[in-house]
């Protein structure tokens, strides 16, 4: 045996991860998506109509962190929550040592700005509202960012849930085979035959769907493909000798399924995941567009695209939501493309 240079051994997945990182387009897309998602998760801290700091009568409050403060707490005469943008003006005019530090982008996605803006909504982009406002006078940038957060959270939730279901069902069908498999496959086929859109429309007309019920509905109709992939993988893998060896060493069925076979069945799961995310985002947009998705006034991309359609001559309502959707989906597809490439056993890859 020749002397082998002492290099740490890499598992199959580790090597593929390394290769994935060399595929710049996919790798940068992944980094960008993750950074954008992290930023959008923190959006309530910097895209909000709550002020960061209010100094009033010698006391400091931090509404962006502490939440609701009645207008009367700061000497405003209105009912309900304090209007910090107005408060800032009032404090400046009074010049009594009180001040307000607003968030960098001080608008809430569901807040109508009709009273403070001149003219009829939708307003075109301006210095205050970078991407303009929609037909109810709500800030488009704020809605886009919050909508991104919802879209991606939703998509990840759908993929996780449908994967869990699909993996469990597919593993059982493929591993046990025989009558379990034949019966199970027929049940899966019957389930696949249910018309998805009608079911969603019926469900959402019966109960106004929350984000979680929508996730569950979409996952309930999205796991069959994964189940069939998994079934095939388990069917193929279980005939290999390492499974016989696992039986011979006394492993339980569950240990064989999830410790021995499952790590060998990851390829279709991982390479399909980005496309499943794309599918889930598009589904949510489609449902929202049709009005069967998230309850208004939730900032959703589908609803924004719909506004673009009904205000087709307001360019900013058409261009910005569609570009955001397009860029997001494209980056996720880039990730998927690079993953596929990284899992390709051929060394010389097309992408570089």
């Amino acid at each position: 045996m020749a002397a082998v240079p002492q290099e740490k051994s890499l598992s199959v997945l580790q090597r593929r991860w390394r290769k994935f990182r060399t595929l710049k387009r996919g790798w940068y897309s992944l980094v960008a998506i993750l950074v954008m998602y992290a930023l959008s998760l923190l959006a309530p801290l910097y895209i909000t109509n709550k002020a960061w700091v209010v100094k009033y009568n010698g006391e400091y409050t931090f509404p962006a962190l502490s939440g609701f403060h009645a207008a009367t707490e700061f000497g405003q005469r209105t009912i309900g929550e304090a209007d910090y943008r107005k408060l800032k003006q009032e404090f400046q005019e009074a010049d009594a040592g009180n001040w307000v530090l607003l968030a960098p982008y001080p608008y809430h996605p569901n807040e109508s700005l009709m009273r403070s803006l001149e003219g009829r909504p939708p307003h075109s982009p301006s210095r205050a509202h970078w991407l303009g406002t929609d037909n109810r006078g709500r800030d488009v940038l704020a809605r886009l960012v919050y909508g991104f957060r919802i879209s991606l959270t939703f998509a990840i939730g759908v993929v996780l849930l449908s994967y869990t279901l699909g993996i469990a069902v597919g593993a059982v069908l493929g591993f046990f085979g025989g009558k379990v498999d034949i019966l199970g496959q027929r049940l899966v086929e019957i389930w696949s035959g249910l018309p998805f859109l009608y079911t969603v429309i019926i469900v959402s007309s019966l109960l106004l769907p929350s984000m979680w019920t929508l996730t569950a509905i979409l996952a309930a109709f999205g796991w069959m493909g994964i189940a069939m992939y998994m079934r095939g993988e388990f069917y193929r893998e279980k005939s290999k000798d390492y499974v016989a060896a696992a039986i011979a060493q006394g492993d339980s069925s569950r240990a064989i399924m999830f410790q021995q076979i499952f790590p060998n069945a990851l390829t279709p799961l991982i390479s399909f995941a980005p496309f499943a995310v794309v599918g889930a985002i598009s589904s949510l947009v489609a449902l929202d567009f049709l009005g069967f998705g998230l309850r208004p006034p939730t900032p959703s991309w589908g609803e924004m695209v719909n506004q673009g359609l009904s205000n087709i001559f307001k360019w900013h309502l058409v261009v910005f939501p569609l570009s955001a959707l397009f860029i997001t989906l494209m980056m996720v597809v880039f990730i998927g493309e690079a993953i596929r490439e990284a899992f390709d056993p051929k060394v010389f890859s097309r992408l570089r």
């Binding site: 051994s9 598992s11 199959v12 016989a244 696992a246 039986i247 011979a248 006394g250 492993d251």
Partner: protein, 340 residues
């Protein structure tokens, strides 16, 4: 480690009586049973502690099926399999018939029977490190801490002639011979009594075959192992085995000591098989070569009576009547043919 096996050498370890393994074949639209593959159809033999029994035969003769039946692999993988006969495993507290028992019932015995597989590429899980592969049986059967398991894995790597640093590597980094050594280390992990070696060297280069065979023989001396050595290479079998059993179409046709079967085979099939062993001397005459006509019949439609009669040079009409029983032809050599 255990010298117990050496002390009790010669005691019976395994008795197989009339073993049958039949696989139903399904077909048609409704997937009904259309036939049966009689892979093993009434095989009986005894295996003593510390000895090596070779099982030879051509492809499709059922030798691998016998090995897998002894380690009880069929029921978990093909629930429809039809099993018959007895596989008696001799333990301190008496005999246990392991044929077709449930996986839970089999579990305590798995510690004592291990297997080496033919294909070193598919028998090691590509996603696990060598460490994880070898400690698999220990995790199930031995109550050891992670550190103790690690030590034992390193000892075993030493013992099978691999570097200790290989423990953290993955199977794809090894050659066939090295992988087979990993497979052997896994089989040794629980200090088993019996190792089923299913063509352990068939997939290896000839030079590596010798190394692995010699390793297996060393390990047998050291740990008092008993081998059921399944192979089709007769010279390898003669080299390593104490006794040899010849199989044809799911039946044993001859069994005896290695010398008896290799030097003076009695059954017409054994004779033909042995005459096919290549001679190292190119000038030696080929006169002794017995050529069989045709192919081995399909085990779905076995000939009546003696399975070999369709190709047998000395077949008689009576061969179609009954399946010939093994009979002693002297010095313990048993032959399933009434005419030799």
């Amino acid at each position: 480690m255990a010298q117990e096996g050496n002390q009790r050498k010669g005691e019976p370890l395994l008795t197989v009586k009339g073993l049958k393994v039949h696989f139903p074949v399904y077909g048609g639209i409704l997937r009904h049973k259309v036939g049966t593959v009689k892979a093993v159809d009434g095989v009986s033999f005894r295996l003593n502690r510390g000895e090596t029994l070779g099982v030879v035969g051509e492809s499709g003769s059922g030798k691998t099926t016998v090995g897998r039946a002894i380690i009880n692999l069929h029921k978990p993988m093909y629930p429809d399999v039809e099993l018959g006969g007895e596989i008696l495993f001799h333990t301190e507290s008496g005999q246990v018939d392991t044929n077709g028992i449930t996986r839970d019932e089999m579990l305590p015995l798995r510690e004592r029977i291990q297997m080496i597989f033919q294909d070193p590429f598919s028998s090691l899980n590509p996603r696990l490190t060598v460490q994880a592969i070898i400690e698999g049986p220990m995790k199930v059967h031995m109550n050891l801490t992670a550190a103790q398991r690690k030590d034992r894995v390193l000892d075993l790597l030493d013992r099978v002639g691999l570097q200790r640093s290989y423990a953290q590597r993955y199977p794809h980094e090894f050659s066939g011979g090295q992988r087979q050594r990993v497979g052997i280390a896994r089989a040794l992990a629980t200090n088993p009594d019996l190792i089923i070696a299913d063509e352990p060297v068939s997939a290896l280069d000839v030079s590596i075959q010798a190394q692995v065979i010699n390793l297996m023989m060393e390990l047998q001396r050291e740990f008092g192992l008993t081998y059921l050595f399944i192979a089709h290479d007769l010279s390898v079998v003669y080299h390593i085995c104490d006794r040899i059993a010849v199989m044809y179409l799911g039946n044993l046709v001859e069994i005896g000591t290695a010398d008896q079967v290799y030097k003076s085979p009695r059954h017409p099939y054994s004779k033909a098989l042995l005459s096919a062993v290549p001679q190292p001397d190119p000038r030696s005459s080929n006169k002794g070569r017995i050529r069989l006509e045709g192919d081995i019949p399909t085990p779905m439609a076995k000939p009546s009576g003696c399975g070999f009669r369709t190709r047998c040079p000395i077949a008689k009409p009576s061969c179609a009547q009954d399946v010939p029983e093994l009979r002693d032809v002297g010095n313990g050599q048993m032959v399933a043919c009434p005419f030799v």
